[in-house]
Amino acid sequence: MFVNFISKSAPPAFSQIFAPKAIPEMTTQLATPLIIEENQEPEHIDRDFALKVAQRAGGRQLLRCFACGTCTAGCPVAEIDERYNPRRIIRMVLLGLKNEVLRSEFIWLCAGCYTCQERCPQGVRVAEVMRALRNLAVEEGIVHPAFKAQAELIRNMGRIYEIEDFDNKKRVRAGLPELRKNIEDIKTLFERQKLNERLG
């Protein structure tokens, strides 16, 4: 029998996530232009921003970047969409352009393929830096809608996909134990880490 996984009976969250048009299109424009006038240091420069990023898991090596551009040259996303440019983002972080980075949509464009990270001659964990930047953006209240949707699924059920009676029937028929539909531990972990106030 042909099983259509994207049927009407699929949980709404699933179709919402995987129907490309259901999610509003990203605007990858910078919040403000990057051109800085001579002798006019923008007030919003955050001199500690690079250090804040460096303190995150996998962020420390960021400070070694000498801007060779190996990351951007090998990036499959940058090749298609020039708005995404890892070297530029890292330079912006090192310059302290906190708002421009965290409010931009381009930090959400990294596909997480780790090509840049493995090729970086300075050992910068570029993909981890992008992840750290997203975390910092979330702390500022900026969450990409698709990421937020998936995060809420995990928070509520402990898994991305809902385990339905149908799934458990099939498991029993295959000689497998039933899976619990909701994993209470996850809520405990969430509460302990206080994510709830962030996603509210």
């Binding site: 490309p20 969409d81 969430f190």
Partner: protein
Amino acid sequence: MEYTYYPGCSLTKTSKPYDLSTRAVFRALGLGLHELEDWNCCGATVYMSVKETVSFSISARNLALAEKMKRDVVAPCSACYLVLNKTNRFLRELPDLNAKVNDALSAAGLYYGGTVRVRHPLEVLINDLGIEGVAAKARRSLKGLKIAEYYGCQIVRPQRGFDDMEFPQTMDRLFEALGAENVYFPLKVRCCGGMLMTTANDVAMKLCHDLIACAQGNGADCIVTTCPLCQMNLAAYQDQLSAKFGEDLHMPILWFTELLGLALGLDVRTVGLNAHLERIPEKILSLAA
């Protein structure tokens, strides 16, 4: 040999055939898979982006549960494999994070000591049985079948794992030993776009186009992959891709365990080949005849 099996979310739904075929292949090869009881989401790459401390905690819950089983964990989903390994690595590297995570785990009555090894089924087959060991159990030859082996990003990067990160060969050698012919496929570890299919559709569509067009252009009958998301991205959007690029971009995208299962003598339903979104041509189905 016995392993703890961590299927992950994708394998319960969109990648059901990968789950069925992994279990079936391990059974056929005499390897025991024991599903981790009450497993939860690995933390997923998505979650890492939102709140990493929580992500590491829910990821570590699986590792804490697995630690009690005292066996290596087998995680077929590339993202699960990556995230669980990443959690292991960061908990080792960063004592502060380790303390935070174990504090959260203690609220759920758990503790993780950091001793679990997380492995990919491809690596388990290659290293624990060996290519010859697997090939010795083959009941059918894959002769005449041309394959493009597609490893995706996340089993070869970023932890410098079991194969080369730019041009891996394990799957190629495995299917070669089973009689198949490997076509020239330089995009073995090129990104499929991953989650960008939902957030930056144009980028992911172009990446998927390149992969399928390359495999087709080099005469492959199918792409064989190790990752649920790669399979999903390449298989589910073939109509849209064809319309968008004005080319026929239809082609079967199999998980490596499905094709391996056929070679081991399993039938089409057992490996889940009847549950694909894309059309599976007679050339592949007839291998099971």
